[in-house]
């Protein structure tokens, strides 16, 4: 029986046992425990979509329980709406709240989200206490009592919550496997890079947070009916938030089953402390226990139970065939600590024969130079109307000031379609800032960027990628929790909601990705982890990502720096064939020979300004250029003499 089949059998069995339990046993204590466990599992699973997949930790997720519970309670008391219907309204209110809160992540990152969720929890607690006309305030809110026969025990709570848990896990599974999940994992790894590849990070994060919040909100509504009395301190409780985060971290953040497992470990403990502990100090001991446990998990088990166990298991498995009795396999046999959950544990490591495959095309760079099938350029579908000639990019009067420093000081620059344009300049002259202005990483103080005749205005990074603007980085930035093929397919030419639900990498996309990779001599690496590859190979994969965008303009930031001459040749070949396909290329490079072999036209920057332009030969004879490059050293030498 394969591992997948075994896992499916275990899951199916668990669901059947849970479903049959209340029918077989009339133990109300255990029913109550399971109901609370389902609730926590739904909470932790919902938290995990934003906190695990996208990497945005929230410390206020119990606010959704509170919102769901109070919405349901208020509707039941004031509008006599059945809580089983009201809880859906609770889910809707939570979805709205999640959407609003996720707006905070449009311009800020990690810790601000933590703060904002925490603040929102506090604020809602204050509002619920103060707005007593609606919520009953500190008096609490009593819901109508259930009217069904006692012989039904807690079934009307048990089964909807179990169904909701199954649904939440199903949605979570499906998010992981879809393009939405691919984008979320990319966001967790490197959000700026993901945006540069056309991923609408704002929409992805909003959907992730809304999913999580909605399920918790519905569960909160059922919880309200179950406890039938709401008071602010218990419902908007920060300890509940802690339990949610703790369950997810304990089980395994970012994994599918970790949060559920964590809930099943944690809830019995929580239940014991709330019923088993008595006396004045019970609350403090509970706090000490869960605070301490949260700290201990962060410090000593940051990956969580599930990934730790899976890793140990795969280590045992890997060690079995080769080492018969005394298992003393060195650490080298274990795969590097990948941030990916167990799903990718099956990734074959092709690291056994890397040299053979990588060096082979280097000696014969010819195939990479001929465009057509197998060159990797098949990915350029050319469904975009490229300017056949004329200006692909115009920068007009671009200025960027940082305080008093004018990092880019009135730059005018034109990159012609189907031409390779070079950009030269000493370190600190503003080249990378210029790239950041053009691709929208940094917004310009003044000036305009015009791509294929259209001004980009204040468009965001993803929109610029969709418009056909692509760049690579001086140090390659890949997503370590995705495979190489997923890294390539993470790039998106346009945004559509329909596309989000498609599988991570379709068969067709995979074939195309392998085609691109083989054009770069990396065919065997589609399922590798980028961390296993060399620096030069990662640069090539970054090139494959931007090819996927079908760019009008490609900006390369020191593509040949720090890589072997063979790889540099392969890269140059790729750049030339792109040029022949009509792509405009802007290249930052210090290697004059490399530039001269590729570029028709170069610009030279110094102190944020363009000081010369022309062919490489022309500018290298320009006294202003010589001064810009050597002036620093001459000045420094003079300073040293006087010092």
């Amino acid at each position: 029986m394969s591992a997948t089949a075994a896992r499916r059998a275990v899951i199916a069995l668990a669901v059947v046992i849970l479903a049959a339990f209340p029918l077989v046993s009339g133990n109300l204590y255990l029913q109550n425990l399971l109901i609370m466990t389902f609730l926590l599992a739904i909470g932790a699973g919902g938290w995990n979509i934003m906190g695990g997949y996208a990497g945005y930790i929230s410390l206020g997720n119990s606010l959704f329980i509170g919102l769901g519970a109070y919405t349901t309670g208020i509707l039941a008391v004031r509008a006599h709406l059945s809580p089983f219907v009201g809880c859906l309204a609770g889910g809707l209110v939570c979805a709205l709240a999640a959407a609003v809160l996720s707006l905070v992540t449009r311009r800020t990152r990690g810790m601000y989200f933590v703060i904002v969720t925490f603040a929102a929890l506090q604020l809602l607690g204050i509002v619920a206490t103060t707005w007593s006309g609606l919520t009953g305030g500190s008096q609490g809110l009593a819901l109508p009592l259930p009217t069904w026969s006692l012989s039904h025990q807690n079934w009307p709570f048990y089964y909807p919550l179990l169904a909701l848990l199954v649904l939440a896990v199903a949605v979570s599974t499906w998010v992981r496997r879809s393009k939405l999940g691919l984008g979320l994992f990319a966001i967790a790894d490197d959000e700026d890079k993901a945006a540069g590849l056309g991923v609408r990070t704002d929409i992805y994060k909003m959907i992730a947070f809304v999913f999580g919040g909605t399920f918790v909100g519905i569960a909160g509504g059922l919880y309200a009916y179950y406890v039938s009395f709401l008071n602010v301190a218990a419902v908007f409780d920060v300890v509940t938030s802690v339990l949610i985060v703790l369950a997810a971290l304990l089980g395994g953040r970012g994994t599918l089953w970790g949060p559920v497992l964590g809930a099943f470990i944690l809830e019995p403990l929580a239940n014991f402390t709330s019923t088993g502990l008595g006396g004045a100090d019970a609350g403090a001991i509970r706090l000490l226990l869960f605070g301490g446990l949260l700290g201990a998990v962060v410090l000593f088990l940051p990956r969580g139970v599930l990934p730790t166990v899976t890793r140990a298991w795969s280590r045992v498995q890997a060690g079995r065939p080769t080492t018969p009795a005394l298992a003393t396999t060195p650490a080298a046999a274990t795969p590097p600590a990948a941030a990916t959950p167990p799903a990718s544990a099956a990734t074959p490591a092709p690291a056994t024969t890397p040299t053979a495959t990588t060096l082979a095309p280097a000696t014969t760079p010819a195939p990479a130079l001929t465009p057509g099938a197998g060159s990797g350029l098949a990915v350029l579908t050319r469904d975009r109307a490229l300017p056949a000639a004329g200006d692909a990019l115009q920068a007009r009067g671009l200025v960027k000031t940082f305080g008093g420093l004018r990092a880019v000081d009135g730059v005018d620059l034109t990159v012609t379609a189907a031409r390779i344009t070079g950009l030269l300049g000493p370190n600190g002259s503003g080249k990378t800032t210029l790239f950041n202005l053009i691709d929208g990483t940094v917004s310009a103080s003044s000036g305009q960027v015009i791509l294929a005749g259209r001004s980009l205005g204040h468009r965001g990074r993803a929109a610029r990628a969709h418009a056909g603007l692509a760049r690579t980085y001086q140090l390659p930035r890949l997503f370590p929790s995705l495979t190489v093929a997923e890294n390539v397919a993470a790039a998106q030419r346009r945004f559509s909601f329909r596309q989000l639900w498609l599988p991570r990498v379709s068969a067709d996309e995979r074939a195309r990705a392998i085609d691109v990779l083989s054009g770069l001599g990396l065919a065997g690496y589609a399922d590798s982890n980028p961390a296993e590859l060399s620096y030069g190979q990662r640069k090539l994969i970054e090139l494959a990502q931007v090819l996927w965008l079908d760019p009008v303009l490609l900006m390369l930031d020191e593509p040949a720096a720090g890589i072997s001459p063979a790889l540099a040749q392969r890269l140059a070949g790729m750049v030339r064939s792109l040029q022949r396909h009509g792509v405009a290329i802007l290249l930052v490079e210090h290697d004059l020979a490399f530039l001269a072999s590729l570029c028709d036209h170069v610009y030279v920057m110094a102190n944020g300004k363009i000081i010369a332009s022309g062919t490489v030969t022309e500018v290298s004879g320009d006294p202003a250029v010589v001064d810009a490059y050597l002036g620093d050293e001459v000045a420094l030498a003079a300073a040293e003499r006087t010092a």
Partner: protein, 293 residues
């Protein structure tokens, strides 16, 4: 008119205390980009320690604050060495979760030691007041305001003028470069945490005679200090001071003209509004976003 002047004076006095309470958070957040969610618990702990000194030995909380800096500084170093440094290596994103866990542990310990009931130091001046014409200036709040100004000026001087301050700035802006010129970021980090938590002793001292406090009021104080830091921008000390004043005035105006009960919502509401509209804070220019790379 008198009512407005009175409200503003209350607001300014309270606001300066808010800024004082937030100084620890301002330092770690501004210099190391670390949010210490245990700041509220540290404030309450300091308040209890000051209360203990006052009730046992009759030491005035204003003086007690200086004594309490010593154990708080030790706590700060221990926090940095045992928790922060380790978590930063494991996953920097979890630092805030770890300090949050610490906050709960500290709250639990305070409850176990001192019990859950409301407490307050009541030195002779705690309910006296000066009169300026028709305007009342409570003595306790006036002294707390002086303490706040003193601590803020001293901290600003340390950061701007001393070698340590320069080392702190260097290590936060460029750890590698700082190492090259002989600054050890780990040691600097320990110093920052020592200073930051020590400064919360003064916040706690003010808290101990200005308010009734309970162990679980740390929740309120962490919300409030976060609000000050976020309003003030990326951890600038003068920015946080201005933010504290603004917050104090906003609360005073809300409780005078709207309702005392709603004034509790002001800090958290401001956090949400500021982070949605102007995440870089109200009192700073936008930082260079690409400078970190």
């Amino acid at each position: 008119m008198t009512e407005l002047a009175q409200t503003l004076i209350f607001g300014v006095l309270i606001g300066s205390v808010y800024a004082l309470m937030a100084t620890g958070l301002t330092l770690t957040f501004g210099v190391m980009k670390i949010v210490n969610m245990a700041q509220g618990a540290f404030l309450v702990l300091s308040a209890y320690l000051c209360y203990g000194l006052w009730s046992r030995f009759g030491i005035d909380p204003l003086l007690g604050g200086f004594i309490v800096t010593v154990p708080m500084a030790i706590l700060g170093v221990a926090l940095y060495r045992l928790v922060i440094e380790r978590v930063q290596r494991i996953d920097p994103g979890l630092t805030i979760v770890a300090t949050f866990a610490l906050a709960l542990v500290v709250e639990a310990c305070i409850t176990l030691i001192w019990g859950p009931d409301p407490t307050a130091s009541t030195p002779a001046y705690f309910n006296q007041a000066f009169r300026l014409g028709s305007v009342v200036v409570p003595r306790a709040q006036f002294y707390a305001c002086l303490l706040a100004v003193g601590v803020t000026v001293a901290l600003q001087a340390i950061v701007r003028r001393s070698w340590l301050g320069h080392a702190i700035t260097a290590a936060s802006e460029n750890p590698e470069g700082a190492r090259l010129v002989g600054v050890q970021p780990a040691r600097v980090g320990a110093w920052i945490f020592a200073i930051a938590t020590a400064s919360s002793a003064f916040g706690g001292a003010a808290l101990s005679f200005l308010y009734q406090f309970t162990p679980d009021s740390q929740d309120v104080w962490i919300g409030l200090t976060l609000s000050v830091v976020i309003l003030g921008g990326l951890g600038s000390i003068p920015g946080a001071f201005a933010a504290g004043l603004l917050l104090g005035v906003a609360e005073a105006v809300t409780s005078t003209y709207i309702s005392v009960r709603w004034s509790a919502a002001v800090p958290t509401l401001l956090i949400l509004v500021v982070l949605l509209i102007r995440p870089q804070g109200l009192f700073t220019r936008a930082a260079r976003p690409d400078a970190a790379t």
